[in-house]
């Protein structure tokens, strides 16, 4: 049904949302997502992620620019867009007084599935997201992870070709997060569903997304595969903690000599810097710290992460903008731990 001259699943040009008396929440975004691709839309709270998703899902009319989803114009062909998309928007939107099966019954009816298919489709999806045992319990008693999984299942009722997930794992424990990732990956690889995923977790974008767009202040500041974005940064990051807290400033001064910019003071007490010259400079850093008599509690070297990309592109670290969740920033590469004093 969809026009064949628009092969991209999502095609956005100069998209703007200007709220009345408010900020320009989205300030001229261009992007393109291919069929079956998982696109990670990364940015801190208030960057414009959700506003973009609301426009792409037809729930908010754009102020300017165009966006086509599954070939349909979001401003002029809203009903067509809605037929083609599934969406799990921020916080699982569920009724605590209904069971999972009852949610399915409502959702399948609203989507106009034939009566004979409704029950079967609902049961299949509930099984698929692993809620079979809880299907007849009221959602009010569900855990956060169960809610998100039901939310995802509900968004799949009408077999959408494009799926929007707005911060699908915010607030979830690592296991629930991993299980949701698995499901999203399966949707993309096995069913060929295009997934547009917003997140403030770098790890999430890194693990799931084929391509990542970084949004800050309503603007897309970087875009590419996670590997390419990290390669652009090049130099590895160095993160150190002094043994004595009152030597932090001294340590920062030393590290700055080897870095290609100012030091970042992380909330957890460590000092980070992008190490000019790569791994080989590490020995020099240790010697310099030693020469100043600065004892080191821990010293880590890590390959560039998306956080480093984010820092380089926006001048800020993403970690402080989220809900203080640090494990989203665990370096995927092995690091030199505790390189002595």
């Amino acid at each position: 049904m969809s026009p064949s001259d628009h092969p991209a699943s999502i095609e956005v040009e100069g998209l703007v949302k200007q709220f009345k008396k408010g900020p320009r929440a989205v300030d001229g975004i261009d992007l393109r997502v291919e069929p079956g691709e998982i696109y990670g839309f990364l940015g801190p709270n208030g960057a414009g992620k959700s506003t973009t998703v609301l426009m792409l899902t037809t729930l908010l009319p754009p102020t300017a620019g165009t966006a086509r989803v599954a070939g349909w114009d979001v401003a002029r062909e809203g009903a067509r867009v809605r037929e083609s998309i599934g969406a799990a928007l921020q916080e699982a939107a569920l009724d605590p007084f209904l069971t999972a099966r009852e949610h399915m019954r409502l959702q399948t009816a609203l989507h106009g599935l034939p009566a004979t298919e409704r029950r079967r489709r609902g049961d299949d999806l509930i099984e698929r997201v692993g809620l079979g045992d809880a299907a007849d319990r009221k959602v009010g008693g569900y855990s956060g992870g169960m809610r998100r999984r039901l939310d995802l299942a509900l968004s799949l009722v009408h077999r959408p070709r494009v799926l929007f997930l707005d911060e699908p794992t915010t607030g979830l424990d690592p296991q629930s997060r991993a299980s949701l990732w698995q499901e999203v990956e399966r949707l993309s690889t096995e069913d060929g569903v295009t997934v547009f995923l917003t997140t403030q977790y770098l790890e999430e974008a890194d693990v799931l997304a084929a391509r990542v767009g970084i949004i800050d202040d309503g603007k897309l500041v970087a875009e590419g595969t996670p590997a390419a974005l990290k390669a652009e940064i090049g130099d590895p990051g160095l993160e150190a903690v002094p043994a004595e807290a009152d030597r932090r400033a001294d340590m920062a001064r030393v590290l700055e000599r080897f870095g290609d910019g100012e030091c970042v003071h992380h909330e957890r007490g460590s000092i980070g810097v992008r190490l000019r010259g790569g791994d080989t400079a590490l020995a020099d850093v240790v010697r310099a710290l030693d020469a100043q008599g600065i004892a080191v509690a821990s010293l880590q070297l890590h390959a560039p992460t998306l956080d480093d990309v984010f820092l380089a592109k926006t001048g800020r670290s993403l970690e402080g903008s989220g809900d203080g969740d640090d494990d989203a920033r665990v370096a995927p590469e092995p690091s030199v731990e505790g390189a002595a004093a």
Binding site: L59, L60, P61, R76, A79, R82, L98, R105, A109, G112
Partner: protein, 259 residues
């Protein structure tokens, strides 16, 4: 935009019914509170029936009309709170992403409250009769009474719908509750129009639509069939619908701005 199919509206109504039935905190006060007020008034103000020109056979029968109006006031809070919760949780957005029409979204939502209205009507009438009231118009009158209560509940429910769409949060909707109670008290709730002493009170009560609803309900209990009183009661209810249905749809358009 495609029109909603009966299947869609039925599904939303069915969900509204389940949701209402599973919220004892919404159902129990909506039934017990009006009955308690009824019991207090009927017991304590009995002497008013001795006033010259008092129309009802006893005060109990007179005051029995009040719970039926209170059903409407509870409907404002019930519908409004449910809808506000749907807005806050994003459930409304979820439904708005399906092919259902805007009006389908609203009409189904009120179903649970209307069902509760039927229950309230039947319970209040049964308790009233058990307490000694007489329904002069008999079984037919009982049917008309329940029908009127359903209309009142629907009309007031639309006020709740409008408030929920306008404010988008449950607290604001709950804030309407006391305002509506004042409306109820500024009517012929406690005494017939002729016996209201203060002139300003009489004026307000005369123009208060609630007074006419009360009179319509009372006409079924004593004085025999009174077409004019009933017509006025239904007309006042229709008036509320005429004002708040367009308002509800207008505020819905602001709330659900999907393209």
């Amino acid at each position: 935009m495609s029109a909603s199919t009966p299947v869609q509206v039925r599904a939303i109504a069915w969900r509204s019914l389940i949701r209402t039935a599973r919220q004892p905190a919404q159902v129990v006060p909506a039934i017990t509170f009006p009955l308690m007020l009824f019991a207090i008034n009927a017991g304590g103000l009995d002497a008013a029936a001795g006033l010259r020109g008092f129309p009802a056979p006893d005060y109990l029968t007179f005051i029995l009309a009040v719970p039926f109006i209170q059903a409407g006031i509870f409907a404002v809070a019930g519908v409004g709170a449910d809808l506000a919760r749907d807005i806050e949780s994003g459930f409304l957005d979820r439904m708005a992403l399906t092919p259902v029409s805007r009006t389908g979204l609203v009409s189904g939502q009120v179903a649970g409250t209307i069902a509760l209205g039927v229950v309230q009507g039947v319970v209040f009438l049964s308790v009233g009769l058990a307490a000694g009231a007489r329904l002069e118009t008999g079984a037919a009158g009982a049917l008309v009474l329940v029908a009127l209560v359903v209309c009142i509940v629907f009309a007031f429910g639309l006020i709740g719908v409008t408030a929920a769409f306008r404010f988008g949060n449950g607290e604001a909707v709950q804030g309407l509750f006391p305002v509506l109670f004042v409306f109820l008290f500024l009517s012929t709730m406690g005494l017939p129009l002729d016996l209201l002493e203060k002139e300003w009170f009489q004026t307000v009560a005369t123009y208060n639509p609630v007074s006419h609803m009360l009179d319509g309900i009372r006409s079924l209990f004593y004085g025999g069939w009174d077409g004019e009183a009933l017509a006025l009661a239904f007309a006042m209810t229709a008036g509320i619908v005429a004002v708040f249905l367009p308002l509800a749809i207008a505020t819905l358009r602001q709330r659900v701005v999907r393209t």
